[in-house]
Symmetry: C2
Subunit: 127 residues, 2 copies
Amino acid sequence: MRTTYATKPREQVSAVLRREKRYLSAAEIHAILRKSRTNVSLSTVYRTLDLLAGKGEASARVDERGETTFVVCDQSHHHHAVCNTCGKVEDVSCEAIETVAHALRSHHGFKLADHEMEFFGTCGACR
Amino acid sequence: MRTTYATKPREQVSAVLRREKRYLSAAEIHAILRKSRTNVSLSTVYRTLDLLAGKGEASARVDERGETTFVVCDQSHHHHAVCNTCGKVEDVSCEAIETVAHALRSHHGFKLADHEMEFFGTCGACR
DNA sequence: CCCTAATTTGCGAATGATTTGCAAAATCAT
DNA sequence: ATGATTTTGCAAATCATTCGCAAATTAGGG
């Protein structure tokens, strides 16, 4: 049978994401772990990130440099508000999207199945 | 002085994007050109895509496989509705986003600076 | 047109992030 | 503890993208 083990390396990678609450690449996570004398191989960081993304516990995006980055987030459907100053990511629900979905159907004859949104700006703490 | 030349290879790459109206990777464009016996090197396809994206004539996204893909689009700020069936991309303006911007500020104390949105569904032609 | 200066192209080699194969180490249920 | 199963770490392999540089193309004045 295929079970998933709760291992120390996985918990350590996951802990970094929960603590930082901002988009991080595999290399960045690896570096952060190293700094705290925690040895987890880069491969394992990659594998753990894929796992978390697969379970929906983390979501991914590709940054300007082309690196894939991850944040922990709600399992339910929602969107992200990313602070341009501190990088912190807040979850945002999406009732307002109903309005947009309706407009898409009536103006474009387009039937909405799914959507992705990301907001950039300044968070409450940084203002 | 720094001028930009209007060359045959650039026009050919750009023509493929205008004709297809869907997200294509450098490799796909290169393959399409080959099929019509048009020889443009893969490097030039990459360089031309960067150029178009820089001028705002094309916009980029990274697909599931990790390849960067491009479509031609409006220069003005707008969003994309991508058909799950034929892949065609339609431009969508974004007045409705004002509602969301207001909600962000009042519920999250988040000041919106920019946003990105992408819609997936079925286009009028495919329904 | 023809010429020259400036920009592009194409090639192959270099890069850099991500993945993969495999033996050794860790985890889980008994 | 014990054995079956999953995971880890490492180094090597992938694969998209970038770069260097000589040869080819373009722009524009004469």
